[in-house]
């Protein structure tokens, strides 16, 4: 698996219609084309993807399994919409899973994978130079770092839990979720320390550093949260005053 971007899946030539709809739907959700909380009407989506309701329902069930869609009987499906508390929950899961993943990656990554990880960080360094503007790509780059570690741990259950499940959720909320958010240099520094531990094949340290890295991101998220709430209160005040 030598894809340049770990997030791009290699489509197998034998693909069922439900597979295609699944990927198209997931893509639409993650890019924000379908927004969190939005109702997913089967007839409408089936027309949109040029298929019937059968494969579409199949795709919806799979997305439900990946927590990107919620379904209530007889009422229908919606794009998942996470509360602030649930986003915090997700941080705790990440801390646990990625910590272990990083430990195993330190033990099992090939030397060439480590080298690629190093050059990825060099690229991030230069990207940070030309500051803001490309914030979107910085966020995807941040995720790419975590992706590669997941792919290096050689535990397929962990890899799929992160890459196919939790990372997709994080991309959906990436504007709130990037570990670099508001601290790109600091995050890059933490990434470099993690890389160092992996290079030293020090699994214990690698786990500790990754967990601290994600904890720091969570604390930053909590701070932003307080800011957002204050702002929301302010605008509410405004609308009342009008």
């Amino acid at each position: 698996m030598g894809a340049t971007l770990a997030s791009i899946p290699i489509p197998s030539t034998v693909q069922t219609l439900a597979d295609q709809v699944f990927e198209a739907l997931q893509s639409a959700i993650i890019t924000g084309d379908l927004k969190p909380g939005e109702k997913l009407r089967e007839p409408e989506l089936a027309r949109r993807f040029g298929t019937s309701r059968g494969p579409l329902r199949d795709a919806l069930r799979r997305l439900e399994g990946r927590h990107l869609v919620t379904n209530t009987p007889n009422t229908g499906a919606r794009v998942v919409s996470l509360s602030h508390g649930q986003l915090l929950d997700l941080y705790h899961v990440r801390e646990a899973l990625e910590g272990m993943t990083c430990r195993l990656a330190a033990e099992h990554m090939t030397d060439s994978e480590v080298d690629e990880l190093a050059s990825l960080l060099d690229r991030h360094e230069s990207e940070i130079q030309r500051k803001e503007g490309a914030e979107y790509f910085q966020q995807e780059g941040d995720l790419d770092f975590h992706f590669r570690i997941a792919n290096g741990c050689k535990n397929d259950l962990l890899r799929s839990a992160l890459c196919e499940d939790h990372y997709q959720l994080m991309r959906l909320y990436r504007y709130k979720f990037s570990s670099r958010l508001g601290r790109p240099r600091r995050a890059l520094e933490e990434h470099r320390m993690i890389l160092g531990a992996i290079r030293d094949r020090d699994g214990e340290l690698a786990e500790l550093l990754m967990r601290r890295h994600i904890r720091n991101a969570r604390k930053m998220f909590e701070k932003n949260l307080e800011g957002d709430l204050a702002k929301q209160d302010a605008t509410k005040q405004d609308s009342v005053n009008k």
Copy 2:
């Protein structure tokens, strides 16, 4: 809005056909009625559950999301069959998730939940007295301990990842997976230490002890594995000699 009565959730009776098939299938897999690796033919199963293929396929997709069923396009579904390596992978995931879960449980469990956990361990104590024989129930009891901690962590993402996903897999392989396997007293002792840390509201220690507990179970599993392999070699030798 509808009648006030309609607002009362009636979870078990308001069930779609696909829900029922899902539960029946999951139950059949976990009890071993459908064995690991067994082919799941849609027409046959649909007849068996008295429904059509639609809801059945729906149920299969959900079970696929929970890693209890694997599906290959145009070929069909099978009950999942984990290799020894994948079982080891599962131990690592458990160590990560249950460690964090136990930390959060120590912080967030209610006092009454802690008390119930304590009385559960007392019951296990007496069950161990009347030795073997009831090994099945001992294994389910072991799982019950972990279940309750998952329910006490108050992080729904963690709870569902464990209770609805990984624990079901473990039940499928319970004969290989019980943390008490071959060491019931020792496991109970570890459970008591974990309970102590939770009672002290010492999250850090609770996580550390739970991780050690699962690591110990993994090591025991690995030992059994070597034994099994030796035995397999022996029988292989026998069959050759015949």
